[in-house]
Amino acid sequence: MRQRAIWSVAIAATLALAGCGSATGTNESNGASGKLVVWDWKSGDKTAAGYVEKAKADFAKKHPGVTVEFVAQPFDQYYTLLGTAIQAGKGPDVMMFNGGGQIRDRVDALVPLDQYLAADKQRLAGWDAFTKAGKIYAGPVTLQGHPIYFNKAHYKKAGLDPSKPATTWSGFLTDCAAIAKMNGTTCFSLGNKEGVGIQFWLSGLGSGILTPAEYDDWIAGKRNWTSPNVKKVFQLWKEANDAGLNNKGGNSTTLFTDAFGIFDAGKASHMIGLMSDIGHWKEFNEFLGAENVGVMPAPVVTTGATPSLPFDGGIGYGVAKWTKDPAIAADLVRALTSSAALQSFYADAGAIVSDTTISTSNAGPAVATLISQLKTGKPALHVALSSKTQELMGRLSQQILEGTVSVDDALKQLADSDKA
């Protein structure tokens, strides 16, 4: 018995002192000769079939001897599976990422692609979301943004002109009250069960609340969490909910996809949505009719703020460090971002793709407005935050709505998290 005790103490002590090896594995090279493996969560979709086919064909022209295998992973497990692959130091050669925190947290496992993708820099947009410390780690496929959609039919019914939505916050509130009275709808459709609602709120309305200088500083990493305008974002989050602008039970409504469903069903008049994938103009067009889907700039809260469309690179493909020949893998990334492939992705999936040269006519007024706003658009505010801060913001946003955490306390915690 005593010996057993000594042994367990010895083992525990060795482990505690050693802390050897690493939880994320060392990078070993993985054979990629003749075959490239791609991981994503899109290639299994019916709407992406044409896109994958075109990209494969384009790649086969350059490297006829290399076969490409697409492995579609379920999205809700994707980063868990990828994390395991990164820990093992083995996995796919090319992999899909969301722009922002998800890729920036994992650049250790990626090859910088600047030298390989230089020729595409002009043609494609959305690079910032895949850049860390001045180096590019993925080629952008889609653009993701957070425009404010509105239901034009609700505006008409309330006697408002849907071609001239309110440009100021007070005007917006007046319109909302009128629309709610006529249609019995709420102003916003809010889903914050995942804690994502606050991200859309921050980015969707941020350009009307922060001054242009504050906005640019925020994106550049100089975030002043004590500034009155930043505080205003979170105060309005609380006030809007308290004033009944949102559907009830926002904290137990999923953004994906219950909240979009509320807007689709015409039970809410406005929705801070997406540009690509889901909860976007194409989905809304199908439910509400293309002629009823409008896009409006953020209402101005702070004088001097200039509303702009918040958008970033949405999804993109990066190259793993352990791939045998990064140049070949980078060529596959180029094929996946070629004009022909992206044109097909836009047409089939309704994604706003990163290629600004493809034609987007005949898709309704909402998409035309979106495309026209891309030129003046800026990166979204929440994308600049680390995934840890985003997660904290999600939790705090739920507590703010509940009233268990004050806005000041939340901002303090966020400032600490953002600094760390």
Binding site: I11, L15, A16, L17, A18, G19, C20, G21, S22, A23, T24, T26, Q77, Y79, T80, G83, Q87, D105, R106, D108, K193, E194, G195, N247, K248, G249, G250, N251, S252, T253, D258, S387, K388, E391, G394, R395, L396, Q398, Q399, L401, E402, T404, V405
Partner: protein, 311 residues
Amino acid sequence: MSVRESSLLARSAKAGRPSRARKTRPVSDRLAPFVLIAPAVLILVFFRLWPLLLGVNFSFTGDGERNGTAVGFDNYAELFGDPVFETALRNVGLLVLLLPVAVAIPGLLATFIFLRVPGHRLYRSVYFFPAVLSPVIVGSIFNLMLAFGGPLNQVLEAAGLGAVDWLGDSRIAIFAVVAVHVWATFGMALVVFLAGFSTLDPALLDAARTDGASLPQTIWHVIIPGLSRTIQFVFVTTMIGMLTSMFGLLYVMTSGGPGGSTYLPEYYIWIQQGQMNRPALAAAASTVLFLLMLVVGLAQIAILRRSGKED
């Protein structure tokens, strides 16, 4: 060397003559037992103990930029400074407190079935139905039922009681999830209780009835003492079920929210490893959960052993 072998040796030493059989036994015979147990031991060592030790080891390394370097107890310090992990541990405590309720419900229902309330045959099968559903399906069903505009709230509003945000209120959400878990799993405990009832001596119940005992008196003085071992067993299995199989429900019903109020250690580990890219921190949380389960497990073994001795 087994106890029996050594006692044999001791006995032969006392007798003052060396064991003949032992001297002449061939080497292959002596090795045979080791060869025979080798597969089981190797599987245990390589697939259970080794990963366990690796996990504990990784919990003392860093994440991200400090990947691979020894960081001592930094991960543990971060863990116990994290309010979310604190909530997760507090929720484990809450589960322990709610355990008697989770055991009492199937116990009481099984008693009614045993006492042959009208329709007891139907109830016996109906109560078991949810036990065959996966947590994801159960969670989805209750997501719809408990949604703010869902049927339950409509009934409450019709009755003039006002709607409750079952899954969106941090004071209520964890109880809602536990209630759904109990609903989904009590069928199994019910079956165990019914099996226990079949061993109950009917003569005692008849005697109680003859003496004019009321139903509560029968339950308290006859049924509960007669079923003490079954009750203990159900306590142990329900505890294990609560600590290890609520992930699916949490994932589907609350995603740990609102405000992190429904986190459990498992969910925390999954978030850190999968979403936050912090495998070493997740390893530290896993180690804490392992130690917690070890304590619970040892306590359970002690309880089971004690109840075994009562025979």
